[in-house]
Symmetry: C2
Subunit: 202 residues, 2 copies
């Protein structure tokens, strides 16, 4: 008979091996040096680091450690569902269904109790209703604009994004979870669009 | 006069932008699918996920949240110092000095209090004396062999590694911080080397 502790570890390692595939999911945003597009695994690391560094931008009732755990998990569904660029033309209901199925399959690789916990944390992030999830969403939205400001517009150019679109798709979630970050970012975006992206508006 | 809260955020964002460079530091280990070498940023994400998933392999006094924070930071020094492959021919004293200088420069980009905290956490990881650091080291050592077992030997082939070397360089730190993981891994390594790596011994 199989030792249940060993069977548990087998399942955990299977999940971790499957997670390796997130390193091959490419996002719309390039690296700051413009050398290539960012993948979702290194993006996940970078935003966890953002949460740790920018902790003092969170509301007092936010647990940064829970936020980091959410952000470690939040993109894993892209292994099955792919990355939906925030400025792309996406059928949001279809994408949500695809991601929910991906979450069930991927977290289902884990031992039962752990799979349930991970799925609940992912669903909390997606729902964006708790203070932890709202801060996590804000951090996730903050990183790409900072990168695009550094590399000449990055995905804004490719997707012909306007400042109005950024106010809606990026500004609202950042302002809800981390208003200090939006106060810092908004004038920089306005200045950048005024100087470099006028053609987009025309 | 500059608002001190804004100056603090400027410094934090500068650090996060500099950290983007970790995505371009390549490690010796390939991805599981063998398509390319792993970079240190996506590696950091993957081992943080390992720490979260394999938490039940840690001693009871280990704080997984502190371990995850350590692992988020532990490779950042490679931006200046590069990655030293575990099986490579490395001058360890020179490398340690280079990494210490890198840690001072990189964490020095942060606001003073935060830079001190991050440096202390990195030094705790490097010293590998506390239970948190020993579990973090074990997790860091566990991931690459699991990948190499999946992709035909990976960096073991390139560096002509023997099972004896793995027992010393990988087995000891894993066994110290997470003995259950070494009990799981060791027979798999022995089996793999017996079947596929006999030539290395000759």
């Amino acid at each position: 008979m199989t030792d249940p502790r060993l069977a548990r570890l087998d399942a955990q390692v299977d999940f971790l091996k499957e997670a390796d595939k997130l390193k091959s999911v490419l996002r719309a945003t390039p690296l700051i040096d413009g050398s290539r597009r960012e993948n979702s695994a290194e993006h996940s690391w970078h935003i966890c680091l953002h949460a740790m560094v920018l902790a003092d931008q969170a509301a007092p009732d936010v647990s940064i450690d829970r936020v980091i755990r959410m952000l470690l998990l939040h993109d894993i569904v892209e292994i099955d569902a792919g990355d939906a660029p925030i400025h792309g033309d996406v059928d949001h209901a279809a994408m949500a269904a695809k991601e929910a199925a991906a979450a069930r399959r991927l977290f289902g690789l884990l031992p039962g109790d752990q799979g349930v916990d991970f799925l609940a944390l992912w669903e909390e992030f997606e729902a964006a209703e708790t203070p932890d999830a709202q801060f996590a969403k804000a951090i996730d939205r903050f990183q790409s604009p900072v990168i695009n400001l550094e590399n000449g517009g990055g995905s804004w150019v490719e997707y012909k994004v306007t400042l109005d679109q950024l106010d809606t798709r990026v500004g609202k979630p950042i302002n809800r979870g981390a208003p200090g970050l939006w106060s810092w970012l908004r004038p920089r975006l306005a200045d950048f669009f005024d100087k470099h992206m006028r053609k987009q508006a025309g």
